[in-house]
């Protein structure tokens, strides 16, 4: 098992190198000069040159063969790409070009917003999706099954930005129940400790902020939870249906066990593995930031942040943010793989 985990982690190395390469190349391929983006169109040539020097943009992309010709090995490796990788290894993500704030600083505030929303959405998705899936599997072809499966198919087909807009229309504009944007109302003061609104308000005992935070979270959570919920419900159902056809389930029934015991003690245990996979992968993708949901609800998370940075050519943010997102993705894939090996005794990796 340990050997499998180690091998799996080693196999990530080429992927991660590839990821840094893609992120780096993206910066180079996208039209526009970051130095010009920083100073504006009409900047003096020498200022542009100075900034290029500062950002290291005058260095060669990968390796400096001219330096090598002179026998300068240090200069040979002093390239934009290797500098970039070196900075990453030191966790130095640079400073935003437009706002002049360190990327890591903004990340510390933005990432908790994404995590808070994503985890809450995932909890909602699991606690609704799994029971619905079990219920429709145990009453196959019933009305309940039909309704929930059509419902989940509608959920999978839902453009979530549109769902978000419909929520805003109904609950914010017509009914005025929930606020439509941001994490907290401007009138509510909250001291930031962890940058998680719910955690901070509980720690500081600020109940007004807690209620306001929950109100702000309600609509984006529902929008974000819809697709994972539908996927989890469908997965749970099909996985349960597979297991319920097994002989040991018939045996359990014929022993006279109660329906609930058979369903939860016998069937669910074996049916849950693919569901865990889906939950893991979906959590990874939600944590990677939901560009659309964050745009609609003006949620200050990393998805919107990176999206704005891509359009604004703010390369340090694009690099830092994209790398973080890719790492989360890769990490959750790894966890899913390992959980397979741990949870399923039939799977052996040599």
């Amino acid at each position: 098992m340990t050997r499998f985990i180690i091998r799996r982690i080693i196999s990530l190395v080429p992927t991660l190198i590839g990821v840094t390469f893609v992120i780096f190349m993206f910066q180079r391929l996208i039209p526009g000069d970051p130095a010009v983006a920083m100073l504006g169109e009409h900047a003096a040539q020498e200022n542009v040159e100075r900034i290029r020097e500062q950002l290291g943009l005058n260095r060669p992309l990968f390796l400096d063969r001219e330096a090598l010709k002179e026998g300068d090995f240090g200069g040979f490796f002093d390239s934009q790409y290797l500098r970039f990788v070196g900075r990453l290894l030191r966790f130095d993500m640079g400073t935003s070009i437009h706002r002049r704030i360190p990327v890591a600083e903004t990340l510390k505030q933005r990432f908790p917003a994404t995590v808070e929303l994503a985890l809450l959405a995932m909890i909602v998705a699991v606690f609704i999706g799994v029971p619905v899936g079990i219920a429709s599997a145990s009453r196959r072809n019933s009305l309940l099954d039909g309704v929930s499966m059509v419902g989940s198919l509608v959920g999978v087909s839902m453009p979530i930005f549109w769902l978000g807009l419909m929520e805003i229309m109904l609950f914010a504009v017509f009914l005025n129940w929930f606020p439509s944007s941001g994490r907290l109302d401007q009138s509510v003061q909250l001291k930031s400790v962890t940058h998680f609104v719910l955690v901070d308000s509980v720690i500081t005992g600020n109940w007004k902020a807690l209620i306001d935070g929950i109100k702000h979270l309600a609509m984006p959570t529902i929008a974000l939870a819809t697709i994972p919920m539908a996927i989890i419900a469908r997965m749970t159902r099909s996985s349960m249906l597979d297991v319920l056809q097994e002989d040991y389930i018939r045996t359990a029934h014929s022993k006279g066990l109660m329906e609930q015991v058979v369903l939860f003690r016998h069937a669910l245990k074996n049916a849950f593995l693919p569901v865990i996979t889906i939950i893991g992968l979906q959590t990874g993708s939600l944590l990677a930031g939901a560009v659309l949901t964050e745009t609609i609800f003006a949620w200050p998370g990393i998805g919107k942040w990176v999206y704005d940075a891509i359009l604004g050519r703010d390369y340090p943010i694009v690099q830092g943010g994209t790398l973080l997102i890719a790492l989360i993705f890769v990490f959750f894939n790894l966890m899913v793989d390992i959980s397979y090996a741990v949870l399923d005794p039939r799977i052996h990796y040599e």
């Binding site: 509608v154 930005f161 807009l165 504009v173 994209t322």
Partner: protein, 409 residues
Amino acid sequence: MAEITTNEIGVADFAVREHRSLWGDAWRRLISSNTARLGMVIVAVFIFSAVFAHFFWQYDARTDLDYALKLKPPNLFPTEEISSIHPFGTDKLGRDIFRRVVHGGWNSLRVGLVAVGISLSIGGLLGLLAGFYESIAISSLERVFLLAAIGLFLGFLPSWIAGQYFQALLFAGLGAIAPYLEGIFTGRRARMAVFATIGLLLGGIPALLVSPFTALVCAVLGLLAGVALSLQLGGQLFSGIIMRSMDIILAFPSYLLAIAIVAFLGPGLDKGMIAIGVVGIPVYARLARSSVLSVIQKEYILAAQSVGEGHNRIIFRHILPNILSPVIVQTTMGLASAILSAAALGFLGLGAIPPEPEWGAMLGDSYRFLTSGAWWAVLFPGLAIMFSVLGFNLLGDGLRDALDPKLRV
């Protein structure tokens, strides 16, 4: 005693049961399922209206403008105020939303087909080859090409550093003759030593023309390339390279990657199609590979190999037809997700360029008017997205059940 004819006991029915093909059977199951029928109806309405509107209902987005009709709610009958009929209302420029929704269907259909076409053709082929060569030994001719390509690739770095590009060709040549040299030097160590020496010389000597330091670096790189070429690389490596590159694409969230590609290519519906298509490649590659792996150990593949059929023929005559059904299902569902992604890009202002009718862009255009109560401008384009996506998903779901041979009666 009465005579009993064969007809009466139903033997005839049983014996001359009509021949049913696999596809005929699947079709029959498809049209007997309610959900699949619903999906087909939705998809048919969607395709028909889009095609009909495109060819027979003239619409010029550039001239469609009428400020007098700005943001009017839906009306099914002409009123005193508005003489024209707008079943879905009008948008901020007074354009009829119904008309734009119907014409938007053509764009969504186009995006879906082109994007899925890109993902399917590239991803499917890569996955097919990866799965095939992972399990079946490559032929000696294929090996020559593979090793020559690897040699070219490995030789590129030293040749670039030295600025002597013919060096890469030398390494390609080393790769090409590697399978023959392996026949001569059968011991692992001997082979590695010979290849490393050749690599060292190929890397170092041309680089001496530039400078001694360059020669040193190139010689080391050449040595490593030589060692790599001596490792009796085969199909596993080929498959590994393909699947690891797919992993790299998969390490980025699909929306973010699509946005990045559009930012690179510039906005526009055609660029959006390419972006969505590229992002979808790994999905089809993985699906195709795992499907190939599940059929490749079947006896009919072994039989085809043992009668001496070539690899091309085995792939396209024996494997491809047998992995078709999961691919068809995925393609149908892929159409749904491509339409959804295109709408998302359009919503963010990265898809269709403004006057062009596109559902996502229409939403992005008018959601700011939601607070002033113009719900119709947001509701109807969104419903169009949802129903078209739902239609393809329902159809895909039905196809999955219909094409499952385990359910065949």
